[in-house]
Symmetry: C2
Subunit: 148 residues, 2 copies
């Protein structure tokens, strides 16, 4: 069934791990140096900012961000504690809740964007042409397994 990976595949795996490590590390440092929250906060706030007004269910965020359920739960705790999101009871499902972004959540997201944009440019954009970036996007998207 599953054959051994070729050397090229192993190298691609290593490059993937190292590249992401290096890139994430630099992005996180950029946020930290700017006195801003970590990058995961941005991603959640971004999802919520473009979501319908009533917000999203935690399991929705979970699936979009590929984060474990327990981590989403606590990430929302932290965001809520800072007043960036609100938890509301969910009408249609008594077990669930809706998480909605607040005004101050929108503000902090907007403040984070320039830092994020700059870091992405420096760590990723500057190394690729448009065409190469599209190739990376297309190839790597395949790895984000839709079915497990």
């Amino acid at each position: 069934m599953t054959q051994k990976p070729s050397e090229t595949v192993v190298d691609a795996w290593i490059a993937l791990v190292r590249a992401q490590q290096a890139a994430v590390l630099k992005v996180e440092r950029a946020f930290r140096e700017a006195g801003l929250p970590p990058h995961a906060w941005y991603d959640v706030l971004w999802e919520l900012d473009r979501a319908p007004e009533e917000g999203l269910r935690p399991f929705d965020i979970e699936r979009r961000m590929l984060i474990a359920q327990s981590n989403i739960s606590r990430l929302i705790d932290r965001l809520e504690e800072k007043g960036y999101v609100e938890r509301r009871a969910c009408e249609s499902d008594g077990r669930g809740q809706n998480v909605a972004i607040t005004a101050s959540g929108r503000t902090i997201r907007r403040r984070m964007w320039p830092i994020y944009a700059k870091a992405i440019s420096e760590t990723v954009g500057q190394h690729f042409s448009e065409r190469e970036a599209a190739t990376v996007r297309d190839l790597l998207t395949r790895l984000v397994d839709p079915q497990g």
Copy 2:
């Protein structure tokens, strides 16, 4: 100087983060399910297995693996505790040490390889042709910043 990243670049960044997350998660689970140590252990043991007999300096491993110094220090602690590596005083530098793999370290590394190989094949290899894997390798290698 640093311009805003294009949408394609942002998408490439997101794909990179998601792809690595998904892939690492699956690999870690494969090791765990097999009752084996996590993937970082393999990487260190692999470096040491192909290193000269006296081993490597921690800062050497650090640079090869892009892991923070404090984490290397503790990773070596754990490996040493299990008897997979040995720390020896370094002759040429009184501050340093040499880390060398032991026989049982070589054994565990060999036992880990089939699991690792299978996981890499499943998470990466099967989604790419040889040519595509080479492209991923070449493009992503650029992001692993040689100079900071």
